[in-house]
Structure formats: C-alpha cells, structure tokens
C-alpha cells in the first residue's frame, strides 16, 4: 500500500525516577511540573515510523491528553519523526477515568482524520490501568490486537505476533485497526539534533473536551471515587552484609534454615 496514515497515542508522565505523590485534596496522582514522554510510548512511535517507511511513505501523527498544556513529551515524539500532534488539554479533564480518557483520545484521533492504524502502548508507566487502547478501539469500532511483540503489514493486512500466557499467537487483522505494542517490540531511535530542532517548529493543535464534544468528563464523568488511602504494611529489611568472598556461605546457610535444600 502507498502512504500509511498512523496515529500514535502517547502519554506524558512525571519522571518515573522521582517518587510519585498524591494531590492531598483530591488523592489524584500528581502530574504537575515537567512531564516526559512515557518510555513505553517510544516503542509505539518507533513502530509507527518504521511501518510508514515500509509502506513507502505516509505520516505519523501523535495524540495526547495532559494537564496544563504540557507538550515537552510530545516534542520528543515529534523529534523522533512524527509530523504533527494533537493535544487535548483541559482543566475539566482532571479526574477522568479510563473510559472517559478513551473517549477523548478516540475523538482526538478522528480530528486527525481516519487513520489506517492506531498504535498505543499496552499500559502507561504511571497509572497503568491498561484498558485505554482496547477501549479506544471499541469506541472507534475498530478491530484490535493487543500485546503485539512483532508487527508488520503485508498487502494491507496486519501480521502480528501477540503475547499470550503460554507463548504467542500469530494474528492477522485487516486495516484500519488498533494495535497495542509491548516494550521491546522495536528499538526506539534517539532523536537527532536536527530532529529536536525541527520538532520545535512542528504543529501541535490544542483542543478542549468541549471542542471534541465529549461530556461529561473529569471527576463528574468518572464512575468511581476515592474511598480511602492507607499505608501498606511495610516489609522490613533484614541483614545486609558486604561480600568478603565467603558471603555465598551465608546464602547456603539461609537456604538450609528455610529447609529448601
């Protein structure tokens, strides 16, 4: 096929290296400050770029939903080679559940046009509800293949190796479709200096929930509310010793006391 139109859903998240925290008034995950492109999404962006190239051209767009008009994570995806972005940013969206998020992203995808393929990660690193890709497919009426660990397109048909409990399944699916990709499906490229410079000039359209006609959203649209937040019973650290060349003996002794050897 000639010219494949692909939309990748990406999430911008707080740096996972910094400890997470909750908003003391709402108990929502705090997502203030600088956000970065979720590592899991770099695989989807790379996959999209490779599929577009293999199709002999086409374009890769990204859609994202984030508070405070945050775009820095999207710029990373644009620097990798995506051509444009759609950001849905709206204070009203705070507190939205996964279903609302899926409806918003589905509407944003339709704003981009009718893509041949929608790609997402299997789950985000910060919230990891893990249902949004499949929910988007259902909202858009698309077939979907989740947990793809290998993806190619042949004659307008997706050929996918899908992760299963026992191994993997080979799955075929006509386009248009949605695919969620596992980490490691491809090796994401590092943005080049030119890519980073070009990304600053690429267009990111910003929309609100109202622009997309999705309502209700946010806390009022969520079919859930925080009931309580408590500290889990902490596991205590035991003995920590420096290896003096004989520490293996301590392990053997410990395994003996546990009667497993």
């Amino acid at each position: 096929m000639n010219g494949m139109k692909i939309v990748v859903c990406v999430k911008q998240i707080p740096d996972p290296a910094t400890p997470g925290s909750l908003d003391p008034s709402t108990n929502a995950l705090l997502r203030s400050g600088k956000l970065i492109l979720d590592d899991s999404d770099a695989y989807g962006v790379e996959m999209a770029l490779q599929l577009a190239t293999a199709a002999g051209g086409g374009e890769v767009s990204i859609v994202s939903m984030a508070p405070n008009g945050e775009m820095s994570g999207m710029r990373t995806a644009l620097a990798m080679g995506a051509v444009r972005g759609v950001l849905v940013s709206d204070p009203a969206l705070a507190g939205s559940d996964a279903l609302t998020t899926a409806k918003v992203l589905a509407a944003a995808i339709q704003k981009v046009g009718t893509p041949d393929l929608v790609i997402a990660a299997t789950e985000s690193t910060d919230g990891y509800t893990g249902t949004v890709p499949e929910q988007i497919a259902e909202v858009l009426g698309l077939p979907s293949v989740t947990f793809a660990k290998k993806v190619k397109v042949e004659g307008g048909t997706l050929k996918i190796d899908r992760q299963t409990e026992a191994g993997y399944d080979e799955v075929e699916c006509p386009l248009p479709a949605l695919v969620s990709v596992t980490a490691g499906v491809v090796e994401p490229r590092y943005p080049s200096f030119k890519g980073i410079m070009d990304a600053k000039k690429k267009e990111i359209v910003t929309l609100t929930a109202a622009d997309l006609g999705v309502s209700p959203v946010g806390w009022s649209g969520a079919g859930q509310k925080v009931s309580s937040v408590s500290q889990a019973e902490a596991r205590k650290a035991g003995q920590v010793i420096e290896d003096d060349g004989e520490a293996f003996g301590k392990i053997v002794a410990f395994l003996e006391t546990l009667k497993v050897i």
């Binding site: 996964a98 279903l99 499949e134």
Partner: protein
C-alpha cells in the same frame, strides 16, 4: 448493597481451570451465594472443576473459531446483560484476554473499570476495590459510583484458592453476536514456548537476574542456580527489554507476580516496576553491587557484592552438596 449475582471471567485447559480462575471464584463466593463462571471457549469441559470452586453455572461460548477473545467475550456478555441477565459485579483476571474483555465491555456498557486490584469488598452501599500504588507502599481504595455491573480486574495471587466442594456447574450455552469488522482479527497459529521445570508463577523458589549480570550470556548463571534449587528462572524488565530473555520470564508490574518461598534477586536494583511483582515472596535474598539499591530494603538477606563472583561460588557449593 446486596450482591445478588457475581460473574467470574474463567479460563482453563484440559478440564482444569487456571489457578487464577480458582482464586477469583473463591473470592466471588465471599461476595455472593450466586456465582457464575463465563468461559470464552469450551466451558463444558471445565464445568466439574469450576463447580468445585463454587460456580453454580458456567456460561460457555464454545469454540471461537480463531476470533480473539476480547471482542467475542465482551459482545457475548453485553448481549446477556441486555437480555436481563445482569450480574452486580464481574471479576476479571489481570491478564491478556481478561484485560481485553474488560475494556471492550466497559465501553459497551458505559461503565468504569477498576484494574490491578488485590481486594474487593462490599462496604455498606458501596463496592470498593483496593489497588496497591507506588510499588505497593500505599493502598488505594476506590468505590464504584455508577450503575453496575461493576467491572474489576485483579492481580494474580490476590486471593488464596479454596474448594467449596460444590457440584459440577450447570452448563449454559451463550451466543456470540456477529461483530462484523470489529471482530476481523483472527488467530492463524498458536505457539507454546516450552519451558522445563516449574512454572515461574507457581515455583517454590525463583531466581531472577537483572542488568547487573552485565551481559546476556551471564544469564546462564541464573538458569543454573534455578535448576539446582528446582526453581524457576525470572528476570527484570530491563533485561527482557534488552532481549536477553523472553517476556514470559519477566517478574513485575507488567510481567508475572510471584510469591515463592524464596526469591533470589541477582543483579537487580529493585525498581518499583519489579518490586510490585515479587514483594509478596516469603523470603527474599538479594545480591547487588550497589549497597544503596532499593532491593536491600525488602531483602531478608542482602549481599553487597559482585554477582559474577557470588553466583559461581554459590552454584559450586550447592553442587558439592548433591
């Protein structure tokens, strides 16, 4: 609220439900006297075993003819619910097909989903599901607010499976509606990755390796130690992403949750992603060069040292005993 009817998304092969299914059925019995299993496939072959864990009925779609489970199961469930057979709660396993079905069904019914839970309870008029966050340090309880059915998925080993000694479940055939192009994805071949020794999530001893092993070939040390201890080898996400071992080896938030008697972490620093998958182990032994590594905060025995030195000596010592 009174919970009149609970469904469990059940899975199994060769007449045996998965341990995950048995865990969910056991929990479901605690929520309601009326528990049904839903099987996307041949439910009849599982009826006796599902009954033992308390399912009164098993709704069976029969062979799906290569269709992916998510779309087919969600459509069949939605059609049953539209027809008036409406459960109050549906419990799903947090795994590939469980997640797909839960997600599709939530859109069809217009209801929220609560995922990654470790518990669910009825608290007065509310159904509350609990999920661990921040690597399990904080328990986050969320109440469903809208109309049911309430859809929730659970991490493996959240509940201990116990038989109820019930009679075989009554098999009720259900029809999968024609979903047209939404159901266009088809399985063309099934591959089972053979592993010798105990399964990762069922093994009494798990030995996992991480980035600290330095390079791919050193994973052989982990495999050898696991074999000597009659355990299963596991891995951190870092080395799975790096392609050293298959995804099926991964322990953690996006991999398997394990709760063995002994967990040995070799060259694993203890990222939150990993800790979520192994913190429930009875005993934890960690070997890592960096004495500040978070893994030492949960280890019963921590060795600050080089895995390349400690593991070969440990393997030799164990070999000389047998």
């Amino acid at each position: 609220m009174t919970v009149n009817h609970v469904w469990v998304f059940a899975q199994g092969t060769n007449g045996n439900p998965t341990s995950f299914t048995a865990e969910l059925l056991t929990k479901a019995r605690g929520l309601s006297d009326n528990v049904s299993a839903f099987v996307a496939g041949d439910g009849a072959s599982l009826a006796a075993a599902l009954g033992k864990f308390g399912a009164k009925k098993v709704y069976s779609t029969g062979d799906l003819g290569g269709r992916l489970v998510g779309v087919a199961a969600a459509s069949a469930m939605a059609a049953m619910i539209a027809g008036g057979n409406k459960p109050d709660i549906i419990l799903f396993p947090q795994n590939y097909d469980g997640r797909d079905t839960l997600a599709r069904l939530s859109v069809k019914l217009g209801v929220t989903v609560l995922t990654n839970n470790i518990d669910i309870s009825v608290n007065g008029s509310e159904v509350v599901a609990t999920t661990p966050i921040f690597g399990g340090n904080v328990l986050f309880a969320t109440a469903f607010t809208g109309n049911g059915p309430h859809l929730a998925s659970f991490r493996p080993k959240s509940f201990a499976a116990e038989e109820s000694g019930g009679a075989p479940a009554e098999v009720v055939a259900v029809t999968v509606p024609d979903d047209g192009k939404t159901a266009a994805a088809k399985v063309t071949a099934v591959h089972v990755e053979e592993t010798s020794g105990p399964k990762l999530d069922e093994a009494n001893i798990v030995v996992s390796g991480g980035r600290g092993l330095g390079e791919s070939k050193n994973y052989a040390l982990v495999e050898e130690l696991a074999k000597l201890l009659h355990g299963a080898p596991g891995a951190s996400r870092a080395i799975v992403d790096a392609g050293w071992v298959p995804y099926s080896y991964q322990v953690g938030q996006t991999g398997k949750v394990v709760k063995p008697s002994v967990y040995i972490a070799a060259g694993i620093s203890g990222a939150t992603q990993h800790m979520v998958g192994m913190k429930g182990s009875k005993n934890i032994i960690a070997i890592n060069k960096d004495k500040e590594a978070p893994i030492f905060a949960v280890a019963d025995l921590g060795i600050v040292g080089d895995v390349h030195k400690v593991l070969p000596k440990l393997i030799e010592a164990l070999k000389s005993r047998s």
